[in-house]
């Protein structure tokens, strides 16, 4: 039971649910209390102990459905092997309480029990509930046919151990053997899709496939028709077993490797240059950016009361000490609140930075969802406010509209700054931060650094993020050097990792 739970926790961690050791212990106590009997109740109870936010509850539920699966196994088992199962010396996995052993087995036993009557690939993925009737019927037919033929062969007629196991047709024993073999081969470490065949084979081999094959060949070559029939029966069961194992492997792959693979990809994307990320990774990048924004905000959203040391708040102190007969017993200190930064973001969306602009807009959008005080502007030559657009539409729509409305023409920073001065400079005060995203390539026009200086003087911090690496600055028509002189901070910001660092820094310092 503990092993099952630990493996479930491991699967949860893969799915980005943070579970501490203390919470695992809680989960154990929870399971002791509610038992394995009622699947829904178990789910609710484990969710309460393990998933600690609405976001994690979603991830938990998907994971739970994949891990603890209900299968035909139950129905099957209760009809045919009820008596056997109660007496079967169960392995640690199957010890799920005597009253209802495999109903909620662990992933291994459950998935192993997924009868492989041609359900093939899809079965392993999403289906949590009982399978549709059709499959069940097929399966029942299959079984009854087999049962008829099995009358002729009792388990002892096969010589190899696996053959005997298959002829005995004890699904519990087979499922247990599969999950045991899977554990021996550390199936939960499966990493990539293409390893599925390999693992299937290894598991079959360690279950005693070679001996079975030898036996089948020998039987096929035999002149006795009874032997040949036995061989055919063994072959069909062998095939069924392979499908069954394949199913199990796939289920485990989805549970463990898929999440891990995604993490690996995310890690790579995190450090890759934004311009090099192929467009088909958009959804992944988007999820990363959303998560990044969420984390940043979670870290920085707590208002901190910073005690200003040494400054007494006299009036508050007198009031507080009235109850001591106006003897100054308790001291009251002045304190300040750090408040949320007001951020103005100017984003260059011209052709030269089009690649980056997409990501910048994405990030802007995610940030805007969590911080209300972000005003966004987009420019190419003319600058316009897009805050409203971002609030009203979803990301794709908003980005498209922004690019369509403002993305044409050559970059003209001078015109953009002039527009900004008119539009919003009055709202910039000493608490605001202005963020400019752009490559500073001004097409050899007048850079108008005086306008940038004006913004610089009004705001608390002016930060310029340039997607080009530092080496490319000031080459060609880039005016970065001249602009840099009028900024509080200039950073190269070519990858998500850099972007995250800059924004984290921004949120920490402002206030």
């Amino acid at each position: 039971m503990e092993a099952t739970l630990t493996r479930f926790v491991r699967a949860l961690r893969m799915a980005n649910v943070r579970v501490s050791t203390a919470e695992t212990l809680d989960a154990l106590r929870v399971v002791e209390l509610v038992g394995w009997g009622d699947r829904e109740q178990l789910k609710h109870a484990l969710a309460a102990a393990l998933a600690k936010s609405a976001y994690e509850v979603d991830a938990f539920e998907t994971c739970f459905e994949r891990f603890f699966r209900f299968d035909t196994f139950t129905a099957d088992h209760s009809i045919d092997n009820a008596t056997e199962s109660d007496t079967t010396p169960a392995s640690d996995d199957a010890q799920t309480g005597p009253e209802n052993p495999p109903a909620v087995g662990d992933g291994a036993a459950g998935a192993g029990g997924a009868q492989a009557n041609g359900t093939g690939g899809g079965a392993g993925s999403e289906s949590g509930g009982p399978p549709p009737d059709r499959e069940y019927d097929l399966h029942a037919l299959d079984r009854s046919a087999l049962a008829k033929s099995a009358v002729d062969f009792d388990a002892g007629s096969a010589t190899s151990p696996l053959g005997r196991l298959l002829l005995a047709d004890d699904q519990t024993a087979i499922a247990m053997a599969i999950s045991q073999a899977a554990r021996e081969h550390r199936l939960e470490d499966i990493k990539v899709f293409t390893q599925q065949g390999l693992y299937t084979r290894r598991i079959m081999d360690s279950m005693g496939r070679p001996a079975l094959i030898d036996e089948m060949i020998a039987l096929d070559a035999s002149t006795d028709s009874a032997d040949r029939q036995l061989g055919a029966a063994l072959r069909s069961r062998h095939d069924r077993l392979r499908r069954q194992i394949r199913d199990h492997v796939e289920g485990q792959f989805l549970l463990h490797a898929d999440a891990r693979g995604e993490r690996l990809r995310m890690q790579m994307l995190h450090n890759a240059r934004l311009g090099n990320i192929p467009p088909n990774n958009d959804h992944l990048v988007r999820r990363m950016i959303e998560r990044m924004a969420r984390q940043l905000v979670a870290v920085h959203s707590r208002k901190r009361r910073v005690t200003r040391r040494g400054t007494l708040d006299v009036s508050r102190m007198i009031r507080r000490n009235m109850r001591h007969d106006a003897h100054m017993v308790e001291l009251a200190w002045k304190s300040t609140y750090r408040d949320r930064p007001r951020v103005f973001v100017l984003c260059d969306v011209s052709g030269s930075v089009a690649y980056y602009a997409r990501f910048m807009l994405m990030f802007l959008y995610s940030l805007g969802e969590v911080i209300s005080e972000v005003r966004s502007f987009a420019f190419c030559s003319a600058l316009a406010e897009v805050t409203d657009l971002f609030q009203r539409y979803d990301l794709d729509e908003a980005s498209q509209r922004t690019l369509a409305a403002h993305g044409q023409g050559g970059t003209d920073y001078a015109a953009a700054f002039a527009d900004f001065e008119q539009l919003a400079l009055d709202d910039v005060d000493r608490r605001s931060t202005v963020l400019i995203l752009g490559d500073a390539r001004n097409n050899h026009g007048d850079p108008r650094t005086d306008l940038l200086r004006k913004i610089h003087d009004r705001c608390q911090r002016l930060i310029w993020l340039n997607p080009e690496p530092r080496a490319a600055w000031d080459s060609g028509d880039s005016e970065m050097g001249r602009y840099a002189a009028h900024c509080h901070q200039v950073s190269a910001c070519g990858s998500l990792a850099q972007l995250e660092r800059v924004v984290s820094d921004l949120l920490r310092r402002v206030g």
């Binding site: 109740q41 309460a48 208002k303 109850r323």
Partner: protein, 318 residues
């Protein structure tokens, strides 16, 4: 498990089902998950962090649980700047001063014969910290909850509004059911520890340390079936057909992009309004007139009004 479990084996906390029934009989209709979590909270002695949009019955859950277990409800409303003097304990300064005044003569007796300052101080020491004993301690909600010998239900409402420092303050209380007062020592729960509910509207993230010590319960908006049951329990006067229409209407509103989505409490208010106005079937005119019960922003009302007749038609036809 040195402390006794809260549950008394004969009462309603025996199983998840009995808790669900008990909650229902007290007028709280909730999902199985809610019953399961209450069951766990009663048996594991772990606090429950309840999250969810406003108006889905987070506070009500604590109130009903208290009624169900027949325990006193001790409530602490959290706000910015809440500190230990208001949450844990405070010294009764007035009483201390008064006693000092009244006991002045007694003090003279005690100290009268002392010749030196040192001797006086030593004599005073013999009398312990009389003025910092439990007699002068003013218990605030958290301490009060610990001192209830029969157990209690402690509700920390809107924990997200409090400061981070206050959260840290809670850790000792929530993990071990004890409070440390420097002058006296550690005070442990005197009988059964309280059942603790913390509610949060998610205006900020609760720290991981606190989350780790709690069971987590997320209450979303209910589905149509559950909401109908809730309305049935809360506003029994309403007719079945109107109830269905009303719930469908509110469910349709929740699909729309509104500033403040109507919650269960608003549905209940609306149901009461309609009953009061003696309306038997939903029509566009009455809906328009009473929309302000459901929607609390003029923007939202303006957005819904043009689509009102379509919505009503869809609901009536369904």
């Amino acid at each position: 498990m040195s402390l006794p479990s809260i549950a008394n084996p004969t009462d309603c906390t025996q199983s998840v089902e009995t808790i669900g029934q008990a909650l229902r009989s007290h007028g709280y209709i909730g999902s199985d998950r809610i019953a399961t979590v209450v069951y766990l909270a009663c048996h594991l002695r772990k606090p429950v962090l309840v999250e969810g949009p406003p108006g889905v019955g987070k506070t009500e859950l604590a109130r009903i649980t208290a009624r169900m277990l027949d325990l006193p409800l001790i409530r602490l409303q959290c706000y910015e700047g809440l500190d230990e003097a208001k949450a844990l304990y405070e010294w009764k300064y007035g009483k201390q001063l008064l006693y000092i005044q009244m006991l002045k003569e007694k003090l003279d007796d005690v100290l009268g014969s002392a010749s030196t300052l040192r001797e006086s101080v030593e004599r005073l020491h013999r009398h312990d910290d009389i003025f910092f004993s439990e007699d002068f301690l003013e218990p605030r909600p958290l301490l009060k909850a610990l001192r209830e010998t029969n157990g209690s239900v402690l509700l920390l409402d809107e924990i997200d509004k409090s400061d981070e420092a206050f959260e840290s303050l809670l850790l000792e209380m929530l993990a071990d059911y004890q409070i440390t007062i420097p002058e006296i020592g550690t005070i442990k729960a005197s009988g059964r520890p309280p059942v603790v509910f913390l509610t949060s509207n998610n205006t900020r993230e609760i720290s991981d340390a606190l989350k780790r010590r709690c069971l987590h319960l997320y209450i979303p908006f209910p589905d149509a079936r559950l909401e109908q049951q809730i309305i049935e329990a809360q506003v029994p006067e309403i007719g079945a057909e109107l109830r269905r229409q009303l719930v469908d209407f509110v469910q349709a509103l929740r699909e729309m992009d509104l500033r403040k989505t109507p919650a269960i409490s608003e549905t209940i208010d609306w149901a009461r309004t309609l009953v009061l106005l003696n309306i038997s079937a939903l029509d566009a005119r009455w809906a328009a007139d009473t929309l302000n019960v459901l929607l609390k922003f003029q923007d939202d009302i303006d957005r819904v009004e043009p689509q009102l007749s379509t919505l009503i038609r869809r609901v009536a036809g369904a």
